[in-house]
Symmetry: C2
Subunit: 282 residues, 2 copies
């Protein structure tokens, strides 16, 4: 059985529970992060913890653990569970209190984390995935990585129902984000992704891929694009913390470009993997 | 200690817990209802259970309990906890599964409920409450009573920070809803509230108050109104399952009408209470 961590203690998975009065359960009142593991080590956990601290500030939850202890906990979960490739998930909620929308006085945030294996360096989806176009139903503060995720759950389930790996969410035809990823296109040899705002999450992988592209001399445009532009692009891909860079080879059944992973996407995935291997080397 | 109900069992509050892998906690992936209790009896629980069934259908969660058993559970919680006036809260989540956005195969929904006392017939707020105007940040499917409620939590906390009881949420100046209530104005002797759509919750109390108004011969308009119209209205009020009808006497510090509860609002509150007393009489 897995070992999880909750409120300061390492416990068997079966004992990791929260009271029904936890605000994470009653209100989706919490935030989270997911970091990848390669070669038994955390990838960019420091960057995820900076974003966690920001999410906590934005929703007014106290940061009772802090980056240094989170790093210890995340590394301990990797070791105790023997994760070589996989992920660590962590969550903070506003804590346990009699149900009332306003912030409770004196409640202590609930904190927990777990790890699990996942193939990240040789992801079977690296050959390319399909996406399904669906309206973006999310709230206005998508820059906060909150656990009020029902819109994303429904978008990704709709994608699955259409035989697709991911949702391509849009507002009035303008692509916002994937269900749990940032989306990109390649046109005229340049990569393009939406600029940061409250309309999308500031992806850690998004930011790293922007650097990888710049270092490889690939032109970068931070500009929104439409579903139509994605359909007509030479290449399309997604980025996320545990999918890294995945080619999008079809949009609602219509092939993107040649219908297979394109050369720019493959360069970026390879560049991302090389950096990840170097950062997690023993 | 309170007795709660979870997954078929009545348990002491301290034992009512869910695993950290519950999708209610990880994704806000669940729906809920709240019904008032008067004279030791449930008010309009049947209507709340019809709405629960609709919410479950809309998000694709199986209705494993059903209205008949929910009624038994709700009544048992009222009795076991000796509630004379108060509320019963119930929630259904998509269940426990390894974290993945798409619906899990074979997971059983998590179901739980609790009761608590609250003054409803002689609510100390019946003299009138203050509201704070704030942008509506919610997702697009507000007709679903989901537990992904972080936008409402932040709206109601902002209201509290401004010394107000409730948020008056708006989009581009058009009033959508309160943080956890429907909003109304009275102009030229007629009551006005926004028509039903995916932009707001179909309040059970809203619907009953429409009937109470019609029976009292008060003209009713189902039409959106602006923050400016609310500021200039003769009266303004909110409706919710446990607040019934509450006068709104100020909007961001500016008095509404005469600054005290108005006659139409008082007639509607009295009419609502009379109906509630009759329905819950022994």
């Amino acid at each position: 059985m897995r070992t999880c961590w909750i409120n300061g203690a390492y416990v068997p998975e079966a004992e990791a529970a929260v009271p029904i009065f936890d605000r994470g359960l009653l209100f989706g009142d919490g935030v989270y992060e997911v970091a990848a593991v390669m070669q038994g080590r955390l990838l960019d956990a420091d960057l995820h913890l900076v974003r966690l601290a920001r999410s906590l500030r934005e929703v007014g939850i106290a940061d009772t653990v802090g980056a240094a202890q989170w790093l210890e906990v995340m590394q301990a979960l990797v070791s105790r569970n023997g994760i070589v490739e996989g992920l660590v998930y962590l969550q903070v909620t506003r804590g346990v209190a009699e149900r009332d929308f306003v912030f409770p006085q004196g409640a202590t945030p609930t904190v927990f984390a777990y790890a699990r294996p996942k193939r990240v360096s040789d992801d079977p989806n690296a050959a390319g995935v399909a996406v399904h176009v669906t309206p973006d139903l999310r709230w206005a503060r998508r820059d906060i990585k909150s656990v009020s995720l029902l819109a994303q759950v429904l978008a990704k389930e709709a994608a699955k129902a259409h035989g697709c790996f991911e949702a391509m969410m849009h507002e009035d035809g303008v692509v916002t984000e994937g269900g749990s990823s940032n989306l990109w296109i390649v046109t005229d040899g340049a990569v393009q992704t939406r600029p940061l705002s409250s309309k999308l999450l500031a992806g850690i992988t998004r930011d790293v891929v922007l650097q990888v592209a710049a270092e490889a001399g690939i032109p970068v445009r931070e500009r929104a694009f439409t579903v139509e532009q994605a359909r007509g692009a030479a290449e399309c891909f997604l980025t996320s913390a545990t999918n890294f860079v995945l080619p999008i080879v079809s949009i609602d059944g219509h092939p993107v470009g040649s219908g297979v992973a394109g050369p720019v996407t493959e360069r970026l995935r390879a560049g991302y993997l090389a950096r990840a291997r170097a950062l997690t080397a023993g």
